[in-house]
């Protein structure tokens, strides 16, 4: 792994900054009982309990980008579930530990329930649903007096010794908080975490890589709901007594802002955010009346001025200048590792495809096939249906007529998230990459379809999950080396140049060992030198047996590397033949290539 050395050094650099912060927090947490009084214990316990909720919510908000602003509802549910069960209002009293677990399950159930709209609808709708749910839960708690005690409330659970003293309970909550940090961090740094970030920033590309949004989201709704429920049980115990008016919208805003202050896509940032906001309430106690206003100002400032939050502030690695030598050095020999597993002589065959948007026929009767190892060019004027064809094959559009056959089997229309698994990879006209993630993480996203470890294995970092993660990382570094980007592996992807992003997208697509690779104008914006390298790369991929479907405007490039060219005009094929024939085809010349 000598080649990987610089990358490794860079990333351990970054880890040190994070590790130092974690160590500092641990020292503070351990020394607090020796220097502080009960008041400190209370505030620290409160911060730990809030973090239990925020750590889960962080996966929903910070990673998956789903704006759940009413999570106090799940805290309420957890608090009441635990209290009611230990008090024995509905059935014989339950042991606090068991009650806490049931609260976690209740939270998980309702976490999914209020998350359902997020699977299909715009972000704002989800925000509204969580907001509405927050109101309902409080009202039900008030109305259901026989169980919840109504407005009079109910005594919170007391955990048995040694967790019933101020510092004992502190230790209990700190333990759970540490566990949550570990578990959510496992998720965040796994393929699941990468999938969430991809859904947040480049949903379309995520689907093409094999991420199925509902599955990915439901998993984090479960875990976030569970942690919120447990946090509620602990909250009830800390408060000793709960009434509906303890669960204010302000608390919801606090959770939410902790994450944004911390920075999206980070664990340590929101952790610091939670601690800061919990302390801020105490320090700014004389300003209590303005606290909501201050939160709002804070939120606005973060969104407008520092969207990266604390995490971006302590991300020293990405403040360093990049390598000045940005020459891409390809290593096409490494491409052999990404050759498709099985080979069919003719992976893709389209027959009579027709796609209409209203009265407009975007594709009007298209037949063609791509052979294994063939570079098939698709050219035509703007609006002739080239990218639309790729989108039909990718499953983003469902054609009204026609058949698609892939790898000897009928390829169903739609279902874009299943394409990667079948062996269809692609790139986009405008590169769709996760700017905030590292280059390496972006490439590893391409390995999702071939992963098969269970979510639980990831949460607990069981051996299989570790092994799979290592393999994906290894493959991704290979892919980066093949396209010449390995020196940027640990750099934030949005720091790369546009041309480098095109190679990055190819590396990501290679991770799926595609039988068919579709490239959408990969040469656009590239220098002459870079185009030459691109050609080299594409040829190298094709040589391993991958069929290539290449959409391009750059005529010279097409004719120099393609084995076969199809020309589209107004959604119909105008000509389809080897380059030398197409080049002199009369209609093609007049319609597209020009005299």
């Amino acid at each position: 792994m000598s080649l990987a050395a610089p990358t490794h050094a860079a990333s351990s650099d970054f880890l040190t900054a994070n590790r130092l912060t974690y160590c500092g927090l641990l020292i503070v947490a351990l020394s607090l009982p020796w220097v502080g009084n009960d008041y400190w214990a209370l505030i620290a316990t409160r911060a730990a309990i809030y973090w239990v909720l925020v750590s889960g919510l962080n996966l929903v908000v910070g990673y998956a980008g789903q704006l759940a602003i009413g999570y106090v509802a799940l805290l309420t549910l957890g608090a009441y579930t635990t209290s009611v069960l230990t008090a024995g209002n509905v059935m014989p009293p339950v042991h606090p530990y068991i009650a806490l677990m049931i609260a976690g399950l209740t939270g998980a159930f309702f976490g999914v329930f209020i998350g359902l709209p997020a699977l299909r609808l715009r972000t704002f709708y989800f925000a509204m649903t969580t907001l509405g749910f927050a109101t309902i839960v409080t009202q039900v708690a008030l109305a259901w007096q026989s169980v919840t005690g109504g407005g009079i409330g109910i005594t919170g659970p007391e955990f048995p010794a040694p967790f019933n003293s101020a510092w004992g309970f502190y230790a209990f909550c700190m333990g759970i908080a540490a566990l949550c940090t570990w578990m959510t961090s496992n998720v965040a740094h796994s393929r699941h975490g990468r999938a969430l970030v991809a859904i947040r920033d480049v949903e379309v590309a995520a689907e093409s890589c094999g991420v199925y949004k509902p599955h990915a989201l439901i998993k984090v709704f479960i875990i976030a709901g569970m942690l919120a429920g447990i946090s509620g049980g602990l909250f009830a115990s800390l408060q000793t007594y709960i009434t509906p008016d303890a669960f204010t919208f302000e608390l919801s805003v606090l959770f939410f802002i902790s994450i944004l202050i911390g920075g999206r896509g980070s664990i340590i940032g929101p952790l610091l955010g939670t601690i800061i906001l919990t302390l801020l309430q105490e320090i700014a106690a004389p300003l209590a009346a303005w606290s909501n206003f201050l939160y709002a100002v804070l939120l606005l400032v973060i969104v407008l001025a520092m969207p990266g939050g604390i995490a971006a502030l302590i991300d020293f690695k990405n403040k360093k200048a990049l390598h000045s030598d940005r020459n891409l050095v390809l290593d096409v020999d490494l491409l052999g590792a990404f050759k498709p597993e099985t080979k069919q002589s003719q992976p893709l065959d389209l027959k009579g495809i027709r796609l209409q948007f209203g009265a407009l026929r975007a594709i009007d009767g298209l037949d063609f096939h791509v052979k294994s190892g063939e570079i098939h060019g698709l050219i035509g004027p703007n609006g002739s249906g080239k990218t639309t064809t790729l989108n039909v094959i990718s499953g983003f559009y469902s054609p009204q007529f026609g058949q698609m056959v892939f790898d000897g089997q009928a390829l169903p229309a739609g279902l874009p998230h299943l394409r990667a698994g079948l062996g269809i990879g692609r790139t986009y006209q405008t590169p769709k990459i996760v700017g905030e993630a590292s280059v390496l993480d972006n490439v590893m996203l391409g390995g999702i379809a071939s992963s098969d470890t269970h979510f639980i294995e990831t949460v607990l970092t069981l051996p299989r999950a570790i092994a799979e993660e290592q393999k994906t990382r290894h493959d991704a570094l290979q892919a980066l080396r093949a396209v010449g980007l390995d020196k940027f592996a640990s750099v934030r992807a949005d720091r790369l140049q546009h041309s480098e992003l095109r190679f990055l997208e190819i590396a990501r697509a290679l991770m799926g060992r595609p039988k068919l690779l579709m490239l959408d104008e990969p040469a656009a914006g590239l220098s002459v030198e870079e185009i030459k390298k691109l050609g080299e790369l594409i040829k190298g991929v094709a040589k391993n047996g991958t069929a290539i479907l290449l959409v391009e405007h750059h005529a010279d490039f097409i004719f120099s590397i393609c084995d076969y060219v199809t020309v589209l005009n107004l959604g119909k094929p105008l000509a389809s033949d080897i380059p030398s024939v197409v080049r002199v085809h009369k209609e093609v010349v007049s319609a597209y290539l020009g005299a």
Binding site: N37, D38, Y39, W40, L42, I43, R46, Q139, L142, A143, Q145, G149, G150, G151, I152, G153, L238, Q239, T240, Y241, I242, T243, P244, D245, A246, T248, E250, L251, Q281, E282, A285, P286, A288, A289
Partner: protein, 397 residues
């Protein structure tokens, strides 16, 4: 006053236990101020009472300090604004106990906060006076250091029910509450007690205070044949809408219930002054005008003292008086027992018999921490406010 042997032992025990927990209080010099914590919901919704209490608190502390303090020691009031949020109240209480090391706590002023805070105060053996009405807040066994300075909800409820059933002689009663914690529980308790007394509860409902239209509930109450409406809500907006709806329906049913029905804000929310007639709110003898328009002499003395210093126009006299009494009771306890120890203060309170406060006459014992006398709770005509006090409702005069 001599300390009994038992109280001495208690005091010693509490000192030892505090010391053993590593939280020994440094011995206070005799000139250090006496710290009293004041948990007040000074801002946010339902902050009006705390604002009123606060005027009495500040006035009492200034009066005591101007007279040389307690045995030469000044009183220092440490106020924390809880905004009525139980979470903030819990934090502030623990801060007062562990960090600021106060000698006694007055408040909180809302039941939701008080329910969360009282167990913490009990654990720290912190002497505590509060004006919250929820019955379960007072329990000399569970919360041996907490005392109530105002009537309990049952006492309010008794006054309202007695007036409704005995003086107004209503047989069919509608009970309304808002959807807050207090509204729901108070309405249910009230309805149960009315039934127990043999009258019929023909309609019982909780109304969302933000609901713009009160017609549905009022209509149903009317159709059910209600002869009186007992109402438990602190939402002035909702109460005013109820009164306006009653007028619009041309119905002359009386409203009896929560003191908020006499709040000054209702005056500006009702459509015409007549809508506020036949509304009777809980009031107190000490803060009510008799037929001649005069306050009881003792209360008049306070009003005279407050004149020019404390504004009574936009608050209620009983809030100011209760705030004054709370601080005064703590001061008397420390002065008489000569100690700021918890056991000394609670010992004094437990032996209190007919202490003549401005708001009421307080009597506590080891087993009874509800100090307010039920006969001092009366109904007053809601619209009769003048300088924070009300005229007694018809039937008492």
């Amino acid at each position: 006053m001599k300390l009994s042997r038992r109280e001495m032992l208690l005091a010693a025990a509490s000192t030892v236990s505090a010391a053993s927990m590593g939280l020994a209080r440094p011995a206070l010099a005799q000139t250090d101020p006496i710290k009293i914590g004041w948990l007040a919901a000074l801002t946010g919704p339902s902050s009006a009472p705390a604002v009123g209490f606060n005027r009495g608190v500040v006035f009492a502390a200034e009066a005591i300090n101007a007279a040389g303090g307690i045995k030469g020691r000044k009183i220092e009031i440490i106020t924390r604004d809880t905004q009525g949020d139980p979470t903030k109240a819990v934090n502030a209480t623990q801060e007062m106990i562990s960090q600021l090391k106060v000698q006694a706590v007055w408040g909180p002023t809302n039941s939701g906060e008080s329910l969360a805070v009282t167990p913490i105060l009990a654990r720290a053996k912190m002497p505590n006076l509060h004006p919250c009405v929820v019955d379960t807040l007072i329990d000399p066994v569970k919360f041996p250091t907490s005392y109530r300075i105002a009537p309990s909800n049952t006492q309010w409820d008794d006054a309202v029910r007695n007036y409704t059933l005995k003086i107004l002689k209503a047989k069919k009663v509608a009970v309304l509450g808002d959807t807050t914690g207090y509204g729901v529980s108070a309405a249910n308790a009230s309805a149960a007690a009315i039934k127990k007394d043999g009258a019929e509860v023909v309609y019982l409902a909780n109304i969302d205070a933000t609901q713009p239209d009160m017609n549905p509930d009022m209509l149903r109450a009317k159709n059910a044949g209600a002869e009186a409406i007992v109402c438990w809500s602190v939402s002035t907006g909702m109460l005013a809408r109820l009164f306006n709806t009653r007028a619009a329906m041309g119905w002359d049913v009386p409203f009896i219930g929560h003191p908020s029905m006499s709040s000054g804000e209702i005056g500006s929310l009702i459509e015409k002054p007549a809508n506020w007639e036949k509304v009777y709110a809980v009031g107190y003898k000490s803060c009510s005008y008799d037929a001649a328009g005069k306050l009881p002499a003792h209360s008049q003395e306070l009003v005279d003292r407050l004149k020019g210093k404390v504004d009574l126009k936009d608050t209620l006299l009983w809030w100011v008086a209760a705030g004054y009494d709370a601080i005064n009771l703590f001061a008397k306890a420390i002065e008489t027992s000569g100690s700021t120890e918890s056991a000394a203060i609670t010992g004094y309170l437990n032996s209190l018999k007919k202490f003549p406060g401005y708001f009421g006459t307080y009597t506590y014992s080891e087993t009874e921490h509800n100090g307010y006398q039920t006969e001092e709770v009366v109904m007053s005509a809601a619209s009769s406010a003048r300088d924070g006090a009300f005229t007694l409702a018809p039937g008492y005069l």
